[in-house]
């Protein structure tokens, strides 16, 4: 089905291309020679031990992190140092964080309409209509006028997903979206993400939810020590991992057969 993008060839439907991306914190190298191409509506699951650089990698895509070497192109826009390119990319790339990061002094609805009004210049009534439609889609429309602190963790994360969707992004980045949740709330967030995947959203998910990876990923990418070690379709990735590090990692996180 999907082709491992060894050479990162750019085709017409390439949504994200990373070529030779390297990043250092001082002398410590966090990303080494990252090459990755993601096609429109492709779903990627990124996994790996903590400190392997997977969060840093996706945070480079919307310029929350800088990188020192290499190139990132998102939907045809070269993510250079100029602010305009950064703004353009961020308008098209939504992000969901581990800690939700909802704005606590605004209602859920205000959280959802702020960026469309300020950044896309959408009139408030239209922004609110979109927000209500998307809150309905993540099944928390009845919470629209509450403040984040009044919601459960799972509801907050679904509100955060709706907030990102209100910008009508072409790509969604998920940075360990279920890691801060109580176990009984993981499913409602994963179901929301599965729904999004079914609708054809381009997604890169940093997650350890391997059931989710099996179900929706086109490719699973395994990282360790800042490098992409292995990438494969989920079937192959879980049944026949090639590298020792991958086998060891899967042995640690998967229930033993």
């Amino acid at each position: 089905m999907s082709v491992a993008a060894k050479s990162v060839a750019i085709t017409a439907d390439t949504m994200i291309a990373m070529r030779g991306v390297n990043k250092w914190y001082g002398t410590y190298q966090v990303l080494t020679d990252i090459n990755l191409a993601v096609r429109a509506s492709e779903k990627i699951v990124l996994c790996g031990p903590s400190g392997s650089g997977k969060s840093t990698l996706i945070r480079c895509i919307n310029a929350l992190e800088s990188y020192q070497k290499g190139e990132i192109v998102v939907d045809g826009v070269h993510l250079g140092s100029q602010g305009k390119a950064v703004d353009a990319v961020r308008r098209e790339v939504g992000m969901v964080f581990q800690q939700f990061n909802l704005f606590p002094h605004m209602t859920v609805l205000e959280n959802c309409t702020l960026a469309p009004i300020r950044s896309r210049g959408i009139p408030r009534p239209a922004a609110e209509e979109t927000a209500r439609r998307l809150l309905d889609r993540v099944k928390i429309l009845n919470q629209a006028d509450k403040y984040p602190a009044q919601l459960s963790g799972g509801q907050q994360q679904r509100a955060a997903i709706a907030r990102a969707l209100c910008m009508e992004p072409k790509v969604m980045l998920f940075d360990e979206p279920t890691s801060a949740l109580d176990p009984e709330m993981v499913k409602e967030v994963l179901d929301t993400m599965i729904g999004l995947a079914t609708d054809g959203m381009t997604m890169i998910c940093v997650t350890h939810e391997m059931g989710f990876a099996r179900q929706v990923a086109d490719r699973v990418i395994f990282m360790a020590e800042g490098r992409i070690v292995e990438e494969a379709e989920p079937e192959i990735f879980f049944k026949a991992p090639q590298h020792e590090r991958t086998k060891k990692f899967l042995g640690e996180i998967l229930p033993h057969h």
């Binding site: 961020r90 939504g94 990061n101 606590p104 002094h105 702020l114 300020r118």
Partner: protein, 213 residues
């Protein structure tokens, strides 16, 4: 103490209030600028703001008033006493409020700024809609604490001849030779201004702590 002397004290109180209000209002504008410069991530702005804060936090308020009042006059800049005293208090309040608000801006969790950036909100929108509303809440107890200091600090303007509450008290007690009564009354007036503010600040702080739980 006769009625006229009491009314004279009240007119002094009026100038104390006016000076505090001007110092606080203009100082807030200056302080906001300083706090934003201090958190801008631009090295020169940050250093400039830090130097300004260090200078005004590290020297006595009385000295600052002297320099603005006499120093500028010696330098050939003849200013109305009102204007020079207002400039003095504005610069003073700007430094302290700037430092209080810098701390509050930095106390807003990093994830808030990151979420705003990820939503492609620009710097002004991030500050205005996301960071400052949260920072102001965090800063309220300390800000009110500084306002109390500022109100009491306006008494130093008496030394350069500005007839606020403190100087009005000195004048009256020199007339009626009842310093204990007059200055006691002056103290009571300051206390009546400052104590409710302190109580309000403490109440806000308790409410913030419970809200954070």
């Amino acid at each position: 103490m006769d009625k006229n002397q009491f009314l004279f004290l009240l007119s002094g109180l009026k100038w104390t209030l006016a000076l505090s209000a001007i110092g606080f209002a203009l100082g807030s504008v200056a302080g906001l600028g300083v706090a934003l410069a201090r958190t801008s991530g631009r090295r020169w702005l940050e250093r400039g703001a830090a130097a300004y804060i260090a200078l005004f936090q590290g020297t006595p308020l009385l000295m600052q008033l002297f320099v603005v009042y006499y120093g500028l006059a010696l330098a050939g800049l003849k200013l109305d006493p009102w204007v020079s005293v207002s400039i003095g208090f504005t610069l003073h309040a700007g430094a302290f409020l700037g430092e209080i608000w810098r701390g509050s801006i930095e106390a807003v969790p990093r994830g808030q700024v990151e979420a705003a950036k990820a939503l492609s909100l620009g710097y002004l929108d991030r500050m205005k809609d996301v960071v400052l509303p949260q920072a102001i809440r965090i800063s309220l107890p300390a800000t009110i604490g500084f306002l109390v200091q500022l109100i009491k600090g306006t008494s130093l303007a008496a030394i350069i001849g500005f007839t606020e509450l403190m100087r009005a008290g000195t004048i009256v007690s020199n007339q009626n030779f009842k310093p204990l009564l007059v200055l006691g009354l002056v103290c009571a007036l300051y206390f009546a201004l400052c104590w409710p503010l302190s109580l309000y600040g403490a109440w806000l702080e308790r409410r913030l702590v419970t809200a954070a739980r």
